[in-house]
Structures are given as structure tokens and as C-alpha cells.
């Protein structure tokens, strides 16, 4: 059913495409090209001495246990954030989809956190978890838990995961809710008449029909956890203690901005670019298939 417009000649279509192409060129291809170029260089902070080192920045990275540690942290962090954010959003969406009083209010409140800036969200969680001034932090101390995320890597990781996931729950919630509402009631009624209990209806009818939404959200959440959580980590732990919460994206910042090691930082950006291209490709393939579905 796609409508196709056939242009005669080539000038007009290219002209119409030009603004978009220009933007992509200036804001993506140019900086990306610069990053690739810089990843083959090694220079001092002031840019006065530059040396071409080909792939040395990359080979150094893969030999560096700290970088491999950051990669592992990223895997742990991203999967935990994704599972937590998707799981709680789905649960909340299913609850909000029921006929309850004040559903509109719940929905609005659940969407709010998305509007909170990452740094603010982090400060909020800091106030909750801080060992000496935080509500939860102090409570944990009272019940005898040695809570100190400034020195305990596992606790620090837990905290950034919770803070990062909380930020993403709202986004997932909207999509799940929309997905739930687009499931035809007739299907659900038919299942109910056939005698399926609510749990069974959820797992055999609702969940499969939600799976396109869920898959889309899976990719979006992974991308979020990979690339968009700098603010939360920076404000909460700065990658510490040790390197316990240093993820790949945070390490790009540490090496590029703090340590002024531009070559290595560029090499890390290139690696991240490859990852995000991969994730996007998966998503596009999937969405393509979904169109025919």
C-alpha cells in the first residue's frame, strides 16, 4: 500500500534531500571521520606534537586490563539496567492498564521521572543512599548493613544501576501502556471465555502481542544504558570506587577530558560507534520485518 512518487530528473530529489544529507554530513560523518583519524594519532595535550601510530591506540586498549574491566562493567550494568527498567515498567503498565480509580494520575506520575535531568536524578539518589545523610543509607546502617558505596564497588554498582534504571522506567512505561491498549479486547475476551485465568492470559496472549514493543524497548534500553548514563555515573560515583562503576562511555570521558589522552579516547569512541551501529542495524532489520508482519 506504499505510495510512491516518481520524480522526473535528478535535481529536485537531490535538492529535497540536501538539507538532511547536509546535517548528517556535518553532525555525523565529519565528527565520526575526525574520531577515526584521531584514533590513529598520538599527541600531547596542547596538540603541538602529533605522531601517527596506526592501530597502536586500539591494541593498547585491548591489552589494558582497566579497559577490559570497563567493558565487563558495561555488560553487567547494561543488562541489569535493561532487565530492571523493562521488568518494572511492564509490571507498572499492566497495573495502570487495569480499571482503577485515578488511573490518569498514576500514569502522569509514572511518566514524570523521564523529565528529570540525569544529574538531578543522581543527586536525588545520592540523598537517598548517602551513608551519613541519606534516608536509605542511614536505615541500612541501623539494621546492620555495612553500607558505604564510596568504598564498596558492588554497592556502588547497585546504586548506579537503580538510578539509571529508574530514569528509563517512564519511557518504557509509555510504550508498554500504548502496546497494552492496542491489544484488541475481543482477543482477551475470547481467551477469558475459553476459561484462561489472568496469569495465563498474560503469558499466552498479552505478552506475545507485546513482543514487538518489548523488542524495540530492549534495543532502546541497551543503547540508553551504553551511551546515555554518563550523567548518572558522573554525579554518583565518578566511575569509582576503584574502577567499579567505570563503563565504556565513562572511560571515554575520563581519558579524553580528564586525562587529555585524545588518541586513546578517540579509539574508544570508534569502538563505541561500531557497537551502536551494530545495535541500530539489528533494530532496523527487526523493524523492517515487522512492517511485513
Amino acid at each position: 500500500m506504499r505510495k510512491k512518487v516518481i520524480f522526473r530528473g535528478v535535481a529536485l530529489p537531490y535538492l529535497l534531500l540536501a538539507p538532511q544529507l547536509l546535517i548528517t554530513l556535518v553532525f555525523f560523518f565529519w565528527p565520526a571521520g575526525m574520531a577515526v583519524w584521531q584514533s590513529t594519532q598520538r599527541e600531547d595535550a596542547f596538540g603541538l606534537n602529533t605522531e601517527f601510530v596506526a592501530f597502536e591506540n586500539f591494541t593498547d586498549l585491548f591489552r589494558d586490563p582497566i579497559y577490559l574491566n570497563a567493558a565487563w562493567n558495561t555488560v553487567v550494568f547494561s543488562s541489569a539496567v535493561t532487565v530492571l527498567a523493562l521488568g518494572s515498567a511492564l509490571f507498572l503498565a499492566v497495573q495502570a492498564d487495569k480499571h482503577i480509580r485515578g488511573a490518569g494520575l498514576y500514569k502522569t506520575l509514572l511518566i514524570w521521572p523521564y523529565a528529570v535531568a540525569p544529574a538531578l536524578a543522581a543527586v536525588l539518589w545520592l540523598f537517598i543512599f548517602h551513608p551519613s545523610i541519606g534516608l536509605v543509607g542511614k536505615a541500612l546502617a541501623v539494621i546492620g548493613v555495612q553500607w558505604d558505596f564510596r568504598l564498596n564497588g558492588g554497592q556502588a554498582m547497585t546504586m548506579v544501576i537503580i538510578a539509571a534504571a529508574w530514569k528509563q522506567v517512564s519511557y518504557n512505561f509509555i510504550f508498554f501502556l500504548a502496546g497494552l491498549q492496542s491489544i484488541p479486547t475481543s482477543v482477551l475476551e475470547a481467551a477469558a471465555i475459553d476459561g484462561a485465568r489472568p496469569m495465563r492470559r498474560f503469558w499466552t496472549v498479552i505478552f506475545p502481542l507485546l513482543s514487538p514493543t518489548a523488542f524495540f524497548l530492549l534495543v532502546v534500553n541497551l543503547v540508553y544504558a551504553f551511551f546515555d548514563t554518563f550523567g548518572v555515573i558522573h554525579a554518583l560515583t565518578r566511575g569509582g570506587p576503584g574502577n567499579a562503576t567505570e563503563t565504556l562511555i565513562y572511560k571515554v570521558y575520563v581519558d579524553g577530558v580528564q586525562n587529555l589522552n585524545f588518541g586513546s579516547s578517540a579509539a574508544q569512541s570508534v569502538i563505541l560507534m561500531v557497537i551502536v551501529i551494530g545495535l541500530t542495524a539489528i533494530q532496523f532489520r527487526y523493524i523492517e520485518r515487522r512492517v511485513h508482519y
Binding site: 598520538r42 600531547d44 603541538l48 551519613s132
Partner: protein, 449 residues
């Protein structure tokens, strides 16, 4: 209407600029990294300088924390738009020394402009940190501090210790901590801020042991870390053990741990002498300042500690700007530095902020005014910088390591792992040495040209 005003304004400016060129003051851009209230006090110095003459106008701008200011200045230089003067924290010194034609060394600036500043009167620890090994000044000393001990006198009293006498040795501290834990009435006996600055860098300086080879990097770029030595290891083992026993609590990186002292959580805090203003404002108990303890039995210890804080660097405009600056601009910078070096100005800065006076003459002025009678302990950091007669050794002159910001982070990361019990202090120091040496070699390679 609005647009027309703008247009006429722009037009008249364009016409007026050449005509006024002779009388317009020369603008000197000055980027600094001090937040309020210190930032306001610093900007006041620029305003005061502007009021003393009409030829130059210093325009101070706050560019975020020290590391942010450093990054901003470097980025501006790469874009050929560097400020004339940038305030650079002490760990950035090695990087700036290696910056080649990005910076204008202060000794060159003064020689070219004919402005005299009496650097002989500066405290040796301050002067040594910012000069070449032959004594020529590279940057302009400004706000200097050093690590000292802040302690809660009330807690000392409750623990049955003499509140006027903080232990001089670590052996004495080790004996005091359990008593503070038992009866001190604070959540934890001891905590630290700026962990590596106080417990490794200054620790090494006062014990006269090297932090790195080649006189802590003053002798060249080929320097290597030497922190994995028995004394530092002994101290780190002690800290890790105390952390385990609840006698010490690591307070986080940089100055994150500081609030635990004025709010009464920690009875002892190791941090900058610049902490004074905050303690004065916030602490609701009797407090004292003491010099850094040392391990009894170490030959030559204790000698002077080294400074922290920041100095002012003169920058060229950038790679695309050719020669960089006009003579007038450099003269303005030199005059501004001369103004800041005035002992009256420096003494006032010291008394307002808690930074140490950088000159002996300013110290004398503060003494004459009775500042130390009214503010007990305010002279402790200065005395500590002059400890051992004030003759600097290769180990107590300062630290000149390229990429030192990164090396400090590495030391902190490895020690954090040790305090968590994931590795021993010896492993932490060995790992930090290995990783830090990689940074040093990369810096050497990037800066040998």
C-alpha cells in the same frame, strides 16, 4: 526599534574603535577555577588591580573546577583563543611545563617586560614548585596550601588525650585512634580528603623519600614512580587495617570527605589548610590544627611538606595565532603579577582565605597584625612548609610529573581496591606504579619533540 539600536550601536563602535584605540585599556583575560566564596575574593583582586591604573583591564572569568579550567584553557589554546592568564592547580604543573610554546614562562615574561618581582622572598616550597631546576620561575605562585591535620579538641578531651597536643608521630596517632573510638563520641576517629596528596605525596616529602626518580620529575621526563617503597607501604597497610577496624574511614576522592569533620562525624581529618574558612563557619566544637605526623625512626624526618593549590600561567594565544601576544598584553600581565606579589596584597589574601602567604614579607605582615594570636593554628601550615629549616631536598621540592592528574586517579583507584580488601597495600602500590609509569612513558613520548 531594537534592531535599529543594535545596528547604530555596532556602526558607531566600528567607527569609534580605531579612534579610541589609543586610550582603550588593554584587556587581559584571566580564567580561574575557584568557586564562591573564594572566587569572588580572587575577582576582587583583579578589580583592585584595575582600579590602580587605566592602561590594562584584567577580566576574570570562572571556568569551573581546577580540572575543568585546565581542560578549557587547553581546548582554547588548540582553537587559538587561549586566555592570557590561567589559574592552574599544582597537579597540572608538569603538563604545563611540558607545554612548550603554549606557555610563556614567567621568567621570560619579566625579562622581556623589565618588570621586577622579588622571588627570593618567596617561601622556598612555593618557589621551588613552580621553577625550573636552575631556579627560573615558570609560573606565578598565587594560592598555595598544604595538607594539615584538623582535629576535634572536644573528642580528644573525651578520649582522655591532651587537646592541645596532637600526636607528632604516626605511632602516637595509632595509639590515639582506639581511645577516640572508645570514648571520642564521633562516628569514626579519623578520615581523609585528598588521599594521595596527603598520605602519599606529602607523606613522602616530610619523610624525605622520593615519590619518583629524577628528583620527583624535576630532572626530566624519564622519571619513574617510586611509591612502592617500604615506608609508604607500611603507612598504606596501617590505613587499610584501620579502615577494617573502624578506626579510619576513607572519605572518597578529592575533597568529598571534608564535610565529615565540621559536622562532627570524624574526630581527625587530613586535608588542605584552605579548609579553614569552612571549619570556622560550620564546626560547633573546639578544633585545632596540627602538622602532619611522621613515623618515628625515619632518618631525616620530618622535613617540609609540599604545597598544593594553584599558580598562574601565562599562555600564548594558540597555534594559528602566529607570535601570539602583543608587547602591551604581556606588559599588562607582568604588571598584574607585580601587583599580586605585593606583600600587602598577598597578606590580605592569606588572611581572607586561609591560603598560605607565598612570601616571607607577607607572613611578617600577618604576624604584625596579630592574625595568629586571634586565629590560633593559622600559622601551622606555614611553619610546616618551613619545617626542617626550609631547605628543600629533591624529595620535598615538589612533584613534576606529566599526566599527574591521571596518575593521582590511578593511585586512588588502586588504594580504593586495597581499602575494600580486594588487594593488599603492596599490590595496590605495585599496580599503581605499573599503571602510572605507562602514563609517564606516554607523556614522555608525546612531549619529547
Amino acid at each position: 526599534m531594537h534592531r535599529r539600536t543594535l545596528l547604530t550601536g555596532a556602526a558607531s563602535l566600528a567607527v569609534a574603535a580605531p579612534a579610541l584605540g589609543q586610550t582603550q585599556p588593554i584587556e587581559i583575560q584571566f580564567w580561574h577555577g575557584l568557586a564562591q566564596p573564594l572566587g569572588g575574593m580572587l575577582e576582587q583582586r583583579a578589580t583592585d588591580f584595575n582600579a590602580t591604573q587605566t592602561k590594562y583591564r584584567v577580566v576574570p572569568t570562572f571556568r569551573g573546577s581546577y580540572p575543568e579550567t585546565m581542560v578549557a584553557a587547553i581546548a582554547a589554546f588548540r582553537a587559538s583563543n587561549a586566555p592570557h592568564v590561567v589559574q592552574m592547580f599544582e597537579v597540572g604543573t608538569g603538563t604545563m611545563m611540558g607545554a612548550g610554546r603554549a606557555v610563556k614562562p614567567v621568567h621570560e615574561l619579566l625579562a622581556e617586560t623589565g618588570v621586577q618581582i622579588d622571588f627570593d622572598d618567596y617561601l622556598p616550597g612555593v618557589r621551588g614548585y613552580y621553577s625550573l631546576s636552575d631556579g627560573r620561575m615558570m609560573s606565578m605562585p598565587f594560592n598555595s596550601s598544604t595538607t594539615v591535620v584538623w582535629y576535634n579538641k572536644d573528642a580528644m578531651r573525651r578520649a582522655g588525650a591532651d587537646p592541645e597536643k596532637f600526636p607528632e608521630t604516626w605511632q602516637g596517632v595509632a595509639e590515639l585512634l582506639p581511645r577516640l573510638k572508645a570514648n571520642g563520641g564521633t562516628a569514626v576517629p579519623m578520615s581523609t580528603a585528598w588521599l594521595t596528596w596527603g598520605q602519599i605525596e606529602n607523606f613522602s616529602a616530610i619523610h624525605d623519600i622520593p615519590l619518583a626518580t629524577l628528583a620527583n620529575g624535576f630532572g626530566g621526563l624519564g622519571t619513574e614512580l617510586r611509591i612502592a617503597n617500604p615506608l609508604v607501604q607500611r603507612h598504606m597497610e596501617a590505613l587499610a587495617q584501620w579502615q577494617k577496624d573502624g578506626l579510619y574511614r576513607y572519605g572518597g576522592r578529592n575533597n568529598a570527605g571534608e564535610p565529615a569533620f565540621p559536622n562532627g562525624e570524624a574526630a581527625i581529618m587530613f586535608t588542605s589548610s584552605g579548609f579553614r574558612a569552612r571549619v570556622q563557619r560550620e564546626a560547633r566544637f573546639g578544633w585545632g590544627v596540627a602538622m602532619l605526623p611522621y613515623y618515628e625512626g625515619t632518618p631525616r624526618a620530618p622535613i617540609n611538606s609540599i604545597i598544593g593549590g594553584a599558580s598562574l600561567w601565562v599562555m600564548n594565544k594558540g597555534p594559528a595565532a602566529g607570535g601570539g601576544r602583543s608587547r602591551g598584553e604581556f606588559e599588562g600581565v607582568a604588571e598584574f603579577f607585580k601587583y599580586l606579589s605585593n606583600p600587602e596584597v598577598d597578606a590580605q589574601w592569606h588572611m581572607d582565605t586561609g591560603y598560605v602567604p607565598v612570601r616571607r614579607a607577607s607572613y611578617a605582615i600577618a604576624k604584625d597584625r596579630g592574625f595568629y594570636r586571634e586565629n590560633a593554628g593559622a600559622d601551622v601550615p606555614i611553619e610546616q612548609l618551613l619545617r626542617g629549616g626550609g631547605t628543600l631536598t629533591d624529595n620535598s621540592r615538589g612533584i613534576r610529573l606529566g599526566g599527574f592528574v591521571e596518575i593521582r586517579t590511578i593511585m586512588e583507584e588502586e588504594l580504593e581496591r586495597a581499602f575494600q580488601g580486594q588487594q593488599t597495600a603492596a599490590q595496590a602500590l605495585a599496580n599503581a606504579t605499573t599503571r602510572g609509569n605507562v602514563v609517564l612513558r606516554n607523556f614522555e613520548r608525546a612531549n619529547r619533540g
